[in-house]
Symmetry: C2
Subunit: 348 residues, 2 copies
Amino acid sequence: MATLRDVAREAGVSVATASRAINGLGNVTAPTRAAVMEAVKKLNFVPHSGARSLTRRKTDTIGVILPDLFGEFFSEIIRGIDLVAHESGMHLLLGNMHGSSHETATVIASMRGRVDGLLLMPPEVKPEMLADNLDPALPTVLLNYDASTLDLPFVAVDNYHGAYTMTEALIERGARQIVHIAGPKHNRDARDRQRGFSDAMAKLVGERSPVILPGDFSEEAGAEAARLLVQGQLPADAVFAANDLMALGCILQLAEAGVAVPEDVMVAGFDDIPLARHITPSLTTMQVKIDRLGSTAMMLLLRLLRGDTLGTASANVLTPTLIARGTTGGPAGLARAAKIPTTETVRP
Amino acid sequence: MATLRDVAREAGVSVATASRAINGLGNVTAPTRAAVMEAVKKLNFVPHSGARSLTRRKTDTIGVILPDLFGEFFSEIIRGIDLVAHESGMHLLLGNMHGSSHETATVIASMRGRVDGLLLMPPEVKPEMLADNLDPALPTVLLNYDASTLDLPFVAVDNYHGAYTMTEALIERGARQIVHIAGPKHNRDARDRQRGFSDAMAKLVGERSPVILPGDFSEEAGAEAARLLVQGQLPADAVFAANDLMALGCILQLAEAGVAVPEDVMVAGFDDIPLARHITPSLTTMQVKIDRLGSTAMMLLLRLLRGDTLGTASANVLTPTLIARGTTGGPAGLARAAKIPTTETVRP
DNA sequence: TTGAGGCATGTAACCGGTTACTCTATTTTT
DNA sequence: AAAAATAGAGTAACCGGTTACATGCCTCAA
């Protein structure tokens, strides 16, 4: 592969001149520039970005570290990030800790010298652990992690209010005995959703200890919860699952047991995965625009890179939207759902 | 940020010794190494990967260039790639040409000096165009692109035989007048699937000009095809859509028109997206293990990087698997589908 | 005793670019 | 016409590591 030196020799100029010509800087006469460009073409020269970034101290790359790469959630985040990054000519270097939080330090370290900034979605680790490993000189934006103790900008989904809103909506539709299927205990999103649910129940119907079934965000967990519900003869007129997948598992299992949704019991989820629209009856859920999570974070990071000092971080909370569908008594059934391609939005 | 020079000074040794100590090479006494390590800790030194890769001429990064980042297809590919890459301590640098094929050259060029190898999924571009832009010295594996003219290794899905198999299966179940909903004309996958269908129809039932409706892989295109089918009174006992999304749109529209699936007409798709299992009736489809596409390509690339010369490329074709479900008369209905969590596989 | 061989360490070139600074020739100013 | 300013090009230091080679010291065989 040809280097800049080769080009300079071929064109009969110095490396400095060649560099200036190629980068379109001033102080190069037209004929000289033409000669250099010809040499570039002839030798098939492509600048070595690695070397360039070493001197420029700029890589035009941002590191994206995610706890996992599974499922739509992460691909949507990446898509959102890429959308903004691409506009600014930035590249994305993916780092994945594959769920093991002790890899965090390694992954962060390996980014040194490769990236201009970091988009980090930490697993459940202590803030101090992050503080120890993050390079304070490296612009960093956190995703889905409240970093109030560190003072880093972050973007998060307002799970608490989302869950509160959904619970409120269920109550408005007449539900009083709402059962919550919780997510993994160590998961912050899950905990926030549960809190939102509990607070709404306490405040709106005075129920201080609603039934909360354990779950882990999987379809099977939803089914298991439904079994508990049916076999245990628990009194319930609505089920609010901490995510759509569990809601789905629950609905299938209820159908299995002959429980009608939404007539006997309403069901609601959280996330609005594509499946939600298409199952029968279609699933009422809180829509989270996950790609926005990524693109917002990336925009924040770009501002950081530009040298802006970010103000309060409060503006970076994404509020989920209530999408009312069949499982809470809206238009149900395949045929009728098909008539309403765009989901309707109800916001109290 | 501390550099190796700082560490060396702090430890009272030369940069060479510091480098050796840190990288665990020989010829360093225990006390010296300890001193260096202490300095590393004290100064919080993290090696600058950019600089390191410049001298080592190795970046431990592979470039992944995809035509787009939309949807599950691409996220699954990335997941497959990452799975293998992570095991070998490789990083992933994402390049996205956002559908515009003229960006291909730019994106490939920008990878120079940043990556050790390339995983490239080209859009519909001429092979010569690729040959012009690819660095012959850079190990490259192509995804979903038959590169027989270039002699690059590639991994592809056997769309032709997949479609042939599905058509055969529909015929075995009694269908004779099968309508195909095609994908985008310029899309290679779509064309291969259509060929597989046409050939099977010609060979197995002697039908040389079966009905082929236009489509573009979208849900709406499937619905539109269904409308044509119903309004046009086309004789059909089965519909084979070039992908699941169109099959889905078709099913919804048929239900709308009062056509029973699978009783009046069978429907089949291609891809096996997660939705396929969950709609009612569940969708018969050809399962493509997309993550395998990514992981296989990555494994190939690793071998290339190790210096292996790859043999014939024939082994790198992934064959889709027939998944028979409700829309072709298998176990139908939500309740019964839930009883069979693992999909059953029928391979003639 | 002497020299060969081995080990720990240092010196400096190098990877492939960028850029501060220098030098020369030309143009502008007075 | 002489002095000053400026444009075009070159020299070499530098980014932050790695590593070939040189050096000095110690051990061991002859």
